[in-house]
């Protein structure tokens, strides 16, 4: 073994070695290879490429094998079997291609027959063929013989003997003969075509029978139709249904169209009403016919009137007079019933009218029977009574179309005229003046809004009654309906009302209790506008007005206190949804509650409460309550300043407790400040002397105290206020950074260094790969170049060989030629 090593070492050429020198020995750096043999490594690489890449290159497009795909060759079948297989395949191929576009004869199991207007296309084709044959006969020149053409077209100028003979035959006979020949020719042609069709059909039937036998051997072509599932059936039905699109029978009308429709309806109703009134006048004019009858009696003009009256009374006792009485009685009764019917019915329907007519007729018959039974004296009395009844004119019915009143007086007059049905009047007034119906209607509706607002204000200033409140509610509803058309105008009008109230209180009534006008204005605002917005141009001024009125008024007596509590209830309405805190409201409630306590633990928060002795205990009960049972407070009594009954004190206290109950519930979501606000209330409530109160009020008071105490206990826990901290970055210091786990062997370690190392490795690997690819490309290029050179060399050699041969022949030819020339010269000499 040692000998072999020595031999190998000797073989290496020392000049092929390369030594890497290092100038400085650096600590920590890895030492590379000291000695290398680049020539040897290059040679080894070349050999490897020859064995791997070179082999692939040589074999490219050269080494392959033949795959025999002929039918039947692999299995070693007999010649006949091979032929049968190939024939079958060819037939199938042709069959597929041929039958692809065949519409009638499909290969599917279910043969679908194509139809047109309920008839099969095959039938139609036959019909077409017959038509085509007719046209062909006309167009083809061969249908008529040449002889016939000659005869028909008078061809030829030479007259023969036959022509002379034909001239003798009559023209009619000639034409009939010609027609018969033409028909015969057509018949023969038709027969030929029919025979051809029969042959074709027989061939087709035979072919189909033949194909039916061979069908089993074929493979199924394409996708077979699947059995239809429920889903497929449903999908098909949806498709069929989708095609039939439904047109809407009742389309939703737009606002303008609805308004127009409503106006037309009202106008038609108005026209019907007017025609009814005209009918009434016609009935009146019908009475003049009686005068004509009197005129027929034949008496003087002046005396006729007097005599007519007398004659009526006189004629009663005669047969004719009896008839006259019956007529008058019937007519008056009919008028009454017509009037009654018109009063009752708001919707005028023809059927009802007809029914009424029938009823009238029936009653007329009954009356006739009755009249025949009664005595003459009773008849006279009845006539007198009915005459009196018919004397007053009937009241007009409510019209359906109104004109907009131009000022407030006319507006009030219109409402007073139809005082029983104001709501209908206002509703129809709005509908007749929709902005889309006519130019300028928006202004008219705005004016109506202003009139309603003024009406509302006047009603609130008048004496408080159930009727006035009803009218105010009607005005409110009308204003709400009118607000849709122009919100800006409505807002400005209501703000003007608030400003008017504000100036009134600032100038004159600074410390007087609130009036019903102010309370109703505040409630109107909460009725028309949302009170939960963060800011509203009407609601916020209304709250300013309400809170200022609540705190600045003086409560000198129970009536004033009741008014202020009513205003507080209106403010609670504003605040119950949004849960806003109103300090004025809480201060008022607390101060008012102090009136029910004899030993006051604190002072009045607001200025309006009495300090002197008899009035400051307005709500205290020193004696047992012996008044009537609990009743609601009468607003009429309070706001009209009529003397109040002794039980008002108890009712006012009850209303105050209810107010505090509302406040407790509204502000129950304030966990942090609930006990701060309501502990004083609890203290005052507990010090109220409840022994003199009736049992119901005692229960209410105890319930309120218990619930308030429980809630205060539940919400006592408090956490100190603290702001959310924002983290601040530290200043960068210039102190040196110490690494406690420093390792001199590995100075660079950590996630950042690891990443750097990996990146470096990746880059080195990529560089190596690129280098290898480049060398592979160079190797292949050299190989290709060498093969090209080899071929070129061979081609050049062959060319030289050929050219050499040619030159040799040419030389020999030239030699022979020179020899011949020489011999000729000798011969001449």
């Amino acid at each position: 073994m040692g000998v072999d090593k020595k031999q190998k070492q000797r073989k290496t050429n020392p000049f092929e070695l390369k030594f890497n020198k290092s100038k400085h020995d650096i600590l920590g750096r890895k030492k590379g290879a000291q000695v290398g043999a680049p020539t040897a490594s290059r040679k080894r690489a070349h050999e490897q490429r020859e064995q791997t890449l070179g082999v692939e290159y040589d074999r490219k497009n050269k080494i392959s094998k033949i795959v025999d795909k002929r039918l039947g060759e692999k299995d070693g079948k007999s010649e006949e079997e091979k032929g049968a297989m190939r024939f079958t395949e060819e037939r199938v191929k042709n069959y597929k291609r041929a039958s692809k576009f065949n519409l009638t004869d499909d290969g599917d199991e279910e043969e679908e027959v194509l139809t047109h207007k309920g008839k099969a296309l095959s039938d139609i084709e036959k019909y077409d063929k017959s038509m085509i044959s007719d046209s062909d006969d006309d167009e083809e020149p061969g249908n008529l013989g040449s002889n016939m053409v000659k005869v028909a077209h008078f061809g030829g100028g030479e007259k023969t003997a036959e022509e002379h003979v034909r001239e003798k035959i009559s023209r009619e006979d000639m034409i009939s003969n010609l027609i018969a020949k033409t028909k015969l020719a057509r018949h023969e042609k038709q027969q030929q075509k029919d025979e051809l069709e029969l042959m074709t059909e027989s061939l087709d039937s035979k072919y189909q029978a033949l194909m039916g036998k061979m069908k089993a051997s074929f493979r199924p072509t394409g996708r077979q139709p699947l059995e239809k599932d429920d889903y497929d059936k449903l999908t098909i039905t949806l498709k069929t249904e989708a095609d039939a699109r439904a047109t809407p029978a009742d389309r939703k009308l737009s606002e303008e169209e609805e308004a127009l429709k409503e106006k037309e309806r009202l106008e038609t109703l108005e026209a019907a009403r007017i025609s009814k009134n005209n009918a009434f006048f016609n009935a009146k004019s019908h009475l003049s016919a009686d005068a004509d009858v009197d005129i027929d009696a034949g008496s003087k003009a002046d005396a006729r009137k007097v005599q007519a009256k007398n004659s009526r009374f006189e004629v009663k006792f005669d047969d004719e007079g009896g008839l006259i009485d019956e007529d008058t009685v019937e007519k008056s009764r009919i008028l009454k019933k017509n009037l009654d019917g018109s009063d009752e019915s708001d919707d005028d329907e023809d059927l009802e009218d007809e029914e009424e007519d029938l009823d009238d007729l029936l009653e007329d018959e009954d009356e006739l029977e009755e009249d025949s039974d009664d005595e003459e004296a009773q008849e006279a009395q009845k006539v007198v009574k009915k005459a009196k009844k018919s004397a007053p004119e009937p009241a007009e019915t409510l019209p359906f179309v109104f004109e907009m009143p131009k000022n407030y007086k006319k507006f009030c007059a219109l409402l007073e005229k139809h005082s029983e049905s104001m709501d209908l009047v206002l509703e129809r007034l709005v509908k007749c003046h929709h902005p889309s119906l006519k130019e300028g209607n928006k202004k008219r509706l705005n004016k109506l809004f202003l009139l309603c607002l003024r009406w509302f204000d006047d009603m609130s200033k008048e004496e408080l009654t159930a009727e006035s409140v009803k009218e105010m509610n009607l005005a409110q509803e009308t204003m709400h309906a009118l607000m849709k058309f122009d919100i800006q105008y409505g807002v400005r009008c209501v703000r003007a009302l608030i400003r008017q109230h504000w100036k009134g209180r600032q100038d004159k009534q600074k410390s007087s209790p609130v009036s019903f006008g102010l309370i109703s204005a505040i409630r109107l605002v909460s009725g028309l506008f949302p009170v939960a917005d963060s800011w509203h141009p009407v609601v916020v001024p209304a709250l300013f007005l309400a809170t200022e009125a609540l705190c600045s008024a003086k409560c000198a007596n129970l009536n004033a206190l009741a008014k202020q509590i009513q205003l507080a209830n209106a403010i609670v309405e504003y605040v119950s949804e949004s849960k806003r805190y109103v300090p004025e409201l809480v201060a008022f409630a607390r101060s008012a509650l102090l009136l029910a306590v004899t030993e006051k633990s604190e002072k009045f928060a607001t200025n309006g409460f009495p300090i002197s002795k008899p009035h400051t205990e307005m709500l205290c009960f020193e004696e047992k309550y012996t008044g009537p049972a609990l009743q609601p407070i009468s607003l009429t009594t309070i706001f009209n300043n009529s003397p109040s009954d002794p039980s008002l004190k108890l009712h006012v206290l009850r209303a105050l407790l209810s107010l505090i109950q509302h406040l407790r519930v509204i502000y129950s979501n304030q966990n942090e400040t609930y006990s701060i606000v309501f502990k004083p209330f609890l203290r005052i409530l507990e010090s109220i002397q409840a022994k003199n109160l009736p049992a119901e009020v005692q229960e209410e008071l105890e319930t309120l105290c218990a619930s308030m105490k429980a809630e205060i206990g539940a919400k006592c826990r408090l956490v100190h206020l603290s702001l959310v901290k924002t983290e601040k970055s530290m200043l960068k210091m210039l102190e040196p950074r110490f690494e406690w786990d420093f390792d001199p062997e590995r100075p660079h370690h950590g996630p950042k260094d690891e990443k750097k190392k990996l990146t470096k490795n990746l880059r080195n690997e990529r560089r190596g790969a690129i280098k290898e690819l480049r060398k592979d490309t160079a190797f292949l290029a050299r190989k290709q170049l060498s093969s090209v050179k080899t071929k070129d060399r061979a081609r050049i050699a062959a060319t030289k060989r050929v050219m050499g041969g040619l030159m040799q022949q040419q030389g020999e030819w030239n030699k022979e030629k020179r020899t011949a020339d020489v011999e000729k010269k000798k011969d001449k000499k």
Partner: protein
């Protein structure tokens, strides 16, 4: 009656213009004997009772002038030769005082007319000694007399404001006020008369009803005029201890005495603390009181427990305060927190603790024992739900970091606040249109991008740190109730079951 008096006041002004003191006093007319007036026989004059009755009956000041022309005011003393008052003049002075302290209530315009005659410096010099004596003996129950006196004195000006014209010059040439020594010290003895009268008033037994008017008048008009203002200290300290209302009214004077004249009131801050309650904020003088309170607490050397107690007390008052007191008190609270950084614990604590109840005792009157520093300003959380928008915004200062600069405490009355809210712009679009516009985010983005550009372009031209801000007009949508409203008196708050308490 008033019209007549106005006419005569005008006449008096014209008459006064005729007389002038431009050095023409000594130059007597040549025709008139200087000593005649002094030496002539004294005519008959009215007695004290008669003059008093005369004053009550006469309707015009001219009548008094006519009477004065008929009598003799001064005479020469037989012994010393000095000019002295006559018996008639003494009767006149005494009668006037009896008229003033009579049982009838004299109307204020009438006293204004009377003061134009008896308020002149020369006759007032004679009246003041007797007036001082009478005031000393005046009882508390005589309310009418006190009111008459107050009304009369309010029309007598101090020499620094206005020097009145002499009265006796119309009737006689030589008067005791013509001497050189009197002329030299004219302003001095006029001021002395003023001081003596007002000191007598303050030291007297004043009626209770008059004090409510007297205290602000003296605070504003009299203290600064007195030669020795500290002499009024007894009066004000007495008023300060009387009732809360009197104490509130006299705070200004007490503060001035303490700050300018080195007075000391024991437990001044405890007293002020007890006066600070919700009813204070419903008074008409709330603006001046809050300004004083701001002055009291403006020192940075106040102990922390005092400042904290006032912070909590003011916060509790805000829970019951009207709208026009909300903004200034919120500003005051914020300034106090900024001024006293130690009190910022009420707003922000590094380690918040959980407490069973608020440790602050609102009923405790001793500032040491209120335990305000252990508490927090939870009341601000409730005011963040106030019904007014600006109060809501201001109450959010507890949620922000503490500022460095104090804000301006601004007072606006209720009428001004109402006008501001009425002047806010609204309209433009209906509520539904704006909702639809907000739902489309693309439109908002476009508008957002579009809006700042004109601002920037405008600011380039109108640049500068202190240029006025260009406020765009913001149009707010107006909401309307979609449901039809119920009747005016039929609406019920649906929170709890309430028995029917009201009927028509």
């Amino acid at each position: 009656m008033d019209d007549d008096l106005d006419q005569f006041f005008h006449d008096d002004a014209e008459q006064n213009a005729d007389f002038s003191d431009d050095g023409s006093e000594d130059e007597a007319p040549d025709n008139v004997d200087v000593n005649y007036e002094l030496e002539r026989e004294e005519p008959k004059s009215k007695s004290v009772a008669e003059f008093t009755k005369f004053l009550q009956e006469c309707e015009y000041p001219d009548d008094i002038i006519k009477y004065f022309k008929t009598i003799k005011f001064f005479e020469k003393d037989a012994k010393t030769g000095d000019i002295v008052s006559t018996k008639s003049l003494k009767f006149t002075v005494t009668g006037f005082i009896q008229y003033l302290f009579g049982t009838k209530r004299i109307q204020r315009p009438v006293l204004r007319g009377i003061a134009k005659i008896f308020g002149r410096y020369d006759i007032f010099h004679l009246i003041s000694p007797e007036l001082v004596k009478s005031i000393t003996h005046l009882k508390e129950t005589r309310t009418t007399a006190w009111f008459n006196l107050f009304n009369f004195l309010s029309f007598v000006p101090h020499p620094t404001d206005r020097v009145t014209k002499p009265l006796f010059r119309q009737f006689c040439v030589r008067t005791p006020f013509n001497d050189k020594s009197m002329k030299k010290r004219k302003l001095t003895w006029i001021s002395t008369d003023y001081d003596n009268v007002w000191m007598a008033v303050m030291n007297g037994k004043i009626s209770d009803k008059l004090t409510l008017k007297l205290i602000p008048y003296i605070t504003q008009n009299v203290i600064s005029k007195l030669k020795a203002p500290f002499k009024s200290a007894d009066f004000f300290f007495k008023m300060f201890d009387k009732t809360d209302y009197h104490g509130i009214l006299s705070l200004g004077a007490i503060f001035r005495l303490i700050s300018e004249h080195n007075f000391e009131y024991p437990k001044f801050y405890d007293k002020v603390y007890s006066l600070t309650n919700p009813s204070l904020l419903y008074m008409s003088q709330k603006e001046s009181i809050l300004t004083l309170l701001d002055s009291f607490l403006s020192s940075t050397h106040l102990p922390t427990y005092i400042t904290a107690s006032f912070l909590k007390r003011l916060s509790r008052c805000l829970l019951l305060a009207p709208i026009d007191a909300q903004e200034p008190i919120l500003g005051l609270i914020r300034n106090l927190v900024i001024r006293h950084p130690n009190c910022s614990e009420l707003v922000h604590r590094e380690v918040p603790q959980t407490l069973y109840d608020d440790p602050f005792d609102n009923d405790e009157t001793d500032l040491h024992k209120t335990r305000a520093l252990e508490s927090s300003l939870w009341e601000m959380k409730l005011l963040q739900c106030h019904w007014n928008q600006s109060v809501r915004k201001r109450a959010h200062f507890v949620d922000k970091s503490i500022q460095k600069i104090e804000s301006y405490v601004r007072f606006r009355c209720t009428d001004e606040l109402f006008s501001v809210n009425m002047a806010k712009s609204f309209g433009g679009e209906d509520g539904e249109a704006e909702k639809y516009r907000k739902l489309q985010d693309g439109d908002e983005d476009e508008e957002g991008t579009g809006k700042p550009e004109p601002k920037k372009a405008r600011r380039k031209g109108f640049g500068g740190k202190f240029a006025p801000k260009h406020e765009e007009k913001v149009t707010r949508a107006v909401g309307v109730n979609s449901e039809a409203p119920k009747g005016i008196l039929d609406r019920q708050v649906p929170i709890i079951d309430v028995p029917t308490l009201w009927k028509i």
